[in-house]
């Protein structure tokens, strides 16, 4: 099977987002492989282990995103491709999906493309489904298990995790699958993988390499990010000699504050 897994480099989840002059900033937080994507990489590797083939990790991002691709290689992916172009720097999900779909089309006959459910920084949850739409493939999102996969018959059956329960969905391949964390437990990179990844030369595909010319303007821009209003907290003790008096004093204060 030809398996592709799309990954993104994001700030570490422990990082705090601050707003400085209307612009969102993660400060100097370490950049990591988007945690949701670790599950996608793991599922791609398990699919390869079960059915043979190869796994290509693909990322759209700046040069530094190579580090996240190296993490995917260290976990066991066979190759990695970085799509990087100044014109794609401020991509919204529409533009990101256009770039990823264009790059996937350049890969020889992929059978399945994995995504993590969302990226922890932008959190749109739509890049996977948008890529599916652009490729004209079925989109299977919120996938918590792959119950059956038949590469010869080119079919897949997945369990989607919905609020109401699980939904079994059967689909032809190729398809785009976005996974949730219930699907597996991501492995650590192996030392062998680390050695391979640290030496890997990761090819960079520009917008023109993937045939995305001219690069469309992003439909969305973020003119300003507004930090949530910081709640002022203070503590006040109500007093009274007896519990009844304390309760009465509390009720009085709550009415005063128009809370009841």
């Amino acid at each position: 099977m030809k398996i592709v897994v799309c990954v993104k480099q994001t700030p570490d989840t422990a990082a705090t987002l601050t707003v400085v002059g209307g612009v969102a900033s993660w400060g100097d937080a370490p950049l990591v492989l988007n945690p949701w994507d670790e599950y996608a990489v793991e599922q791609a590797l398990r699919t390869k282990e079960a059915h043979g083939g190869s796994v290509t990790a693909m990322s759209l991002g700046p040069q530094a995103a190579k580090e996240s691709l190296k993490q995917a290689l260290a976990m066991g992916c066979d190759e990695a491709i970085l799509i990087s172009d100044p014109a794609l720097e401020r991509a919204d999900s529409l533009l990101a999906s256009a770039a990823l779909a264009a790059a996937i089309k350049r890969i020889d006959a992929p059978d399945i493309v994995f995504f993590g459910k969302a990226a922890v920084d932008t959190d749109t949850e739509v890049t996977g489904p948008q890529v599916a739409r652009r490729l004209g493939w079925p989109s299977l999102n919120l996938v918590a298990a792959i119950s059956e996969l038949d590469p010869a018959a080119k079919t897949i059956t997945v369990e989607r995790l919905l609020e109401e329960g699980r939904q079994l969905v059967r689909s032809p391949l190729p398809a785009v699958v976005s996974v949730v964390k219930e699907i597996n437990e991501p492995r650590y990179p192996s030392f062998m993988g680390i050695r391979k990844a640290s030496k890997a030369e990761i090819p960079i595909w520009s917008a023109s390499d993937i045939g995305l010319q001219p690069v469309p303007e992003p439909a969305l821009t973020w003119p300003e990010v507004i930090a949530p209003v910081r709640a002022e907290q203070s503590c006040e003790f109500v007093s009274g000699e007896t519990p009844q008096q304390q309760a009465a004093a509390l009720v009085e204060r709550l009415i005063e504050e128009k809370l009841i």
């Binding site: 190296k70 650590y188 680390i194 050695r195």
Partner: protein, 411 residues
Amino acid sequence: MDFSLGPEHQMVQKMVREFAQKEVAPFIQEWDRKQQMSPEVLPRMGKLGILGICFPISLGGQGLDFISLGLACEELEAVDTTLRVVMSVHVGLCGLSLLQWGTEAQQQEFLIPLARGEKIGCGAFSESGAGSDVANLQTTAKQDGTDYLLNGEKMWISLASKADFALLTARTDSNPKRRSQGLSSFIVDLHSAGVTTGDIKGKLGVRAGSTGWISLQDVRVPKESRLGEQGEGFKITMSAFDSGRYTVAAGAAGLIRACLEASVAYAKERKTFGQPIAEHQLVQAKIARMASDYEIAKLLYLKVGWMKNQGVRNTYETSMAKQFATDASFNAASEAIAVHGSYGYSDEFVVERYLRNARGAMIYEGTNEIHSLIQAGYALGNRTDKALRREMPAYEPQRWQAEAAGIREAT
């Protein structure tokens, strides 16, 4: 000179950190209280390749370098000292001694299963009456045909009850010209007839680990299991310490870091006199000392790792790294308790365990007093390194990572 870690080292660090933090940290307090080693630890470390991190691939290892070994030890001890102790004895004392001194047959028989994590190794030198005074050890190995018969008892042996093999030094000559010439080293199969082992309870620290004794009664060891030549045991033991002490030094740097991280977090959270205690200058002084000690300990061990990679003798530097880092880790743990106040005295918080764990490393692998003497010896010019019959091979990535061909044949 380049002080940055490359991508390979960074990924090694991250991988070992994730293992220790995710799989061990949540449960370590429980095992420490029980005074038992979690049965998960050794198999998981083996499966992840940590137990064979710095051995050539052709000898069952992962083909990484000595700096990777140090980084792994730092990450392991940042969670619990017992994890790093595994590396000290399995990789440091036993495995690396086989790499340095072993014949090809011995490496095939013993090192490959150790490096793959299929078998566990330890180092058995100390006895109830001989720790620092190695040359005075009493366990005997008498020749009997083509075998040796071993008798005696080893004490304070980490992983004594868990290991499959021990690198064990015993007396082969009761009346040598020089005391140190009467010793020889053996790889002893701890499942042999006549071997009994047990754990020591009631230790101050490393309670989630295994420290024990090995008793030998007419244990038959074939001549082929003697490491090095007869009478070479003292040199082999000392060179084993050059490897073991490096892991202790790197681990202690991790313990200082753990004290620092716990203290910083607590100092920002805990308030006295209307402000976080991190605002108080005397608390800041403690934190500053931990931060600088961590940097010093790290620089010292990374330099030793670099020397080992180059194949340069490092007894002096390893001694300094071990002594400095273990003294500093004990101080950092004590100060971390001061930062935590009364809570630091309770095992609800991690720092009391750090203090108990830190103390042992000032005693084992050469007491810190012995290390002062070693360093003084070098500084005064009374001590120099003599060439060994076999030196630890330098790290050569191509050969270490080649799938076939042993290290020795390729030279």
